[in-house]
Symmetry: C2
DNA sequence: TGCGGTGTAACGCGCGGAGTGACAGGCCGC
DNA sequence: GCGGCCTGTCACTCCGCGCGTTACACCGCA
C-alpha cells in the first residue's frame, strides 16, 4: 500500500456513497473486503474502486447491496445520483445558464407526479 | 422460466421517464421536439431516443430538464433509477438469491441515514 | 517462511449515451 | 408544382466508464 502516493482521482467536497461501505457496513458486519466481495459476487478490485469513489454504484450493484445488508437499492442509487448531479452541475453551469427556464402549470406538475411522497 | 421471487409490492414498473416529456412537458410548453432539442442544447435525435426509452436520462440531461421546465433533477433521476433497477432486478434474480442476506443493526442504519426523508 | 488480506496499477472488453449525417415522409404557404 | 419546417428512424462513429483480469508490493500472523 505504501508503494505510491495515491493521486485521489478528484479532490472532492462531497463524500462518495462508497465511503458508507467502508465506514459503516463492513465494520458492522465484521467482514473483510475480500470476504464481502466474494459474497457480493463481484471482484475485490471492483469493490475497492467503489469504496474509493473511482467507480459508481450501478443499478446492479445497488441490488447486490440491498440483498447483502438490507439497505434498499433506492438509497444507494439516490446517493449516487446526488453525487453525480452535484458534480455535473458544477461543470455545466455555463451550459445551463444558456437554457431558457420555463415553468410548468401546477396542474401539469400534479399529472407528472413531481410531488412524490414517500 | 423460474418462478419469480415475489413481484415487489411497489408496482414501480412504469413506462420510461422519457414518456413524460412527450405526454406532458412538451405539450404544456407548446414546443416542438426540434425546438426543445435546440433549447436544451442537445440533438434532436438524442431527445427522440430519450422519449422512446432507448436512452436513459443521465445526470447531465436531468439538470438540463430541471433548468428547462422546473422539474427538479432528482425527480428525473429517481424515475430513471427506479426504471433501471426494476429491469436489473428481473435479470439478476438468480444472482441475488446467491448473495447472503445480512441485517444491519438499527444504530448503523441511523448513522448511514437510511431513514432520511425528503 | 508461507499464507491470507489489503491497496493500486495497467490492460482490455463491452455496454451505452451522444453527435453526425442521411433518408423518407407529412403539412403548410407562396 | 416548389421550398421550408417538422417528424421519426437508421447507421456510423466517438468516448466515457463499469468491470474483470493479471500483476505487483506491503502488512500481520502462525
Amino acid at each position: 500500500m505504501k508503494n505510491r502516493p495515491i493521486p485521489a482521482p478528484h479532490p472532492e467536497v462531497w463524500p462518495h456513497p462508497g465511503t458508507l461501505l467502508r465506514e459503516y457496513v463492513l465494520p458492522a458486519l465484521n467482514l473483510s473486503v475480500s470476504q464481502a466481495s466474494v459474497e457480493l459476487r463481484i471482484t475485490r478490485q471492483s469493490l475497492h474502486r467503489i469504496m474509493a469513489g473511482q467507480a459508481a454504484i450501478t443499478a446492479e450493484t445497488s441490488l447486490r447491496l440491498e440483498r447483502f445488508c438490507g439497505v434498499p437499492s433506492r438509497f444507494w442509487l439516490r446517493r449516487q445520483s446526488d453525487y453525480e448531479s452535484g458534480r455535473a452541475r458544477d461543470r455545466m453551469s455555463d451550459v445551463l445558464a444558456a437554457i431558457p427556464a420555463y415553468a410548468l402549470p401546477k396542474t401539469v406538475l400534479d399529472q407528472i407526479g413531481t410531488t412524490d411522497a414517500e
